[in-house]
């Protein structure tokens, strides 16, 4: 369905993506995972023909995005991070407009709009002005416009951005509902989100695919396993004493690699927060040891956030990574300034 080869995109002298190569098969639901600025949105915009690549080849359903953009656009539905909605139109008028723009035959427009309203559960607000809708409904309208023409490929950029927990659950259901009828590419910086909805994860870092596979494969790839977030309390003790006590209790557990004391996650006497790096899932053992040591457990959770897993994948600690990343960007900027030459576009 999608073939990307040696894709580069520059904004002026700054490389946003590249070299980026990957393939996505028909019917796959793929998550594009990366930090802000990693190149996710640029990649999706190129797929949707909103931007043209600086170099490289991108083919969607067999059509090149540079040579045959109209054919590609007819086969792609795109929801940008900010849904492209007209506040002065009703939902139904807007969806009809989007359908007509995207080559839906006039005789089919009404039916297609009714179908997507049903799929995205927008029927009850069909006659409402878009400007009066909640953020969650606006996201739904955004998805509805992306699928109203029955595209082969649906590209969703951060579809859960700004949604409340209930809306997030509904949006997940909606994205899952697209499975089968469409190939779907979803971007997010939240690993949980990607793993909940996608068959495969593409980790993107600094404009390149850093890793590709399922969530299970991603966990297995992480040599150092996962991290556990802990918040404990020892009555009558200081925060430092609680942390020391927890550290001592954890020291004897087989599988605990490193214990890091953090700023307490909540205020209160004797409360300490720790991050425990483990080589296997030893959450039960950790809980038992802490209780036996006389500590109350306020929180014990597996950290699945991108911030930790993704950085583990790169073999970097969070602080190291931040410094390295900033240093790298600074050196790139310095180099570009020194060169003061035309964009170093790859051929």
């Amino acid at each position: 369905m999608i073939e990307i080869q040696e894709l580069y995109k520059y904004y002026g002298d700054r490389r946003a993506i590249g070299p980026l190569s990957t393939r996505i098969a028909q019917g796959e639901v793929v998550g594009l995972l990366g930090l802000n600025g990693a190149g996710k949105t640029t990649t999706l915009r190129v797929l949707a023909c909103d931007l043209l690549p600086t170099s490289g080849s991108v083919r969607v359903a067999g059509f090149d995005v540079v040579e045959r953009p109209d054919e590609v656009r007819a086969k792609v539905g795109y929801l940008p991070d900010r849904p492209p909605l007209y506040d002065d139109m009703t939902v139904r008028e807007y969806l009809s407009y989007a359908a007509r723009l995207r080559n839906v035959a006039p005789s089919q427009v009404k039916k297609r709009v009714a179908d997507v309203e049903e799929l995205t559960e927008l029927g009850e607000v069909g006659q409402q002005m878009i400007g009066s809708l909640s953020h969650g409904y606006k996201q739904r309208v955004g998805i509805a416009q992306a699928i109203v023409h029955g595209p082969e490929l649906v590209v969703l950029d951060e579809p859960i951005s700004g949604l409340d927990p209930v809306q997030i659950m509904e949006m997940r259901e909606l994205v899952r509902g697209l499975r089968g009828a469409h190939t779907v590419v979803v971007s997010s910086h939240i690993l949980t989100e990607i793993s909940e909805t996608c068959d495969r994860i593409l980790v993107i870092d600094d404009g390149r695919i850093a890793w590709s596979g399922t969530e299970a494969e991603l966990s297995a790839t992480l040599k150092q396993g996962m991290r556990i977030a802990l918040t404990v309390r020892a009555s009558g003790a200081s925060a430092q004493a609680s942390a020391d006590k927890a550290r001592a209790a954890l020291a004897g557990i087989n599988g605990v690699r490193e214990v890091e004391v953090l700023e307490p996650a909540e205020a209160g006497e004797g409360i300490a927060s720790l991050r425990v790096a483990v080589t296997s899932d030893v959450r039960e053992a950790v809980g038992q040891s802490l209780v036996q040591a006389g500590l109350g457990i306020l929180e014990l959770a597996r950290e699945k956030e991108l911030e930790s897993m993704f950085l583990e994948l790169l073999g970097e600690g969070p602080e190291q990574s931040g410094r390295k990343r900033r240093k790298k960007k600074q050196s790139e900027a310095d180099a570009a300034a020194e060169a003061a030459a035309p964009s170093p576009e790859p051929s």
């Binding site: 023909c49 909103d50 656009r73 900010r82 492209p84 007209y86 002065d88 723009l101």
Partner: protein, 239 residues
Amino acid sequence: MRALIIARRELYAYLRSPLGSAIIAAALLVDGILFYFASLDTKRLSAQLLTQFFYDSSAATMVAGLLLSMRLLAEERQSGTITLLNTAPIRDRDIVIGKFVSAFGVLTLMNLLTVYMPLMVYVRGKVSVGHILVGYLGLILLGAAVTAIGLFASSLARSQVVAVIIGAAVVASMILLWVVARAVNPPFNTFFSGLALHHENYRPFMVGTLQFDRVAYYLMLTYFFLLSATKVLEARRWR
């Protein structure tokens, strides 16, 4: 043709928002007041009054054209809705044509609503129908050119205010070319006066003379700025 789908949506936006109505109402009010004062001069011939009407209306047309076109692309960029158009299977030129047709349509409607004033002159005075028709042709052509300039300015800016400032600067510069023409020697004076947006090119229409080279000038100017707006949209995809 998908340009018409966009034009329809834009016309709808003008009707729903107070902006379109407010601009038309203000322009008609100004036209009416100027016509009233011009008609108070009883020594003026009816043909002269009609010429004055087309002169005054041209100012209202240019201002209204800029104000109507400032939002066309700048607002889409500001609100992010340009993505809907950019990712639909539609050419950039169709986007530009659709936008142009809507603003030009509203502007032409505005101009046609002033027709009662020339008709009063026709009924009470001695003017030809041809003078009225040619005068309106001039207004419509001038309106098309200014709308195209405004649309081009709107393609450059994200803010409507910036768009209208750029558009006004281009229009003012092109009007003032006749001043430049006076200051330079031949053959450059002919060249500059031939390029002026209003003076040499619009005057024949005001007096009811149809000159095809003036018609061609406005058509080419309109085409040039519509093409420029299209190129701006195309170039933005490569950035």
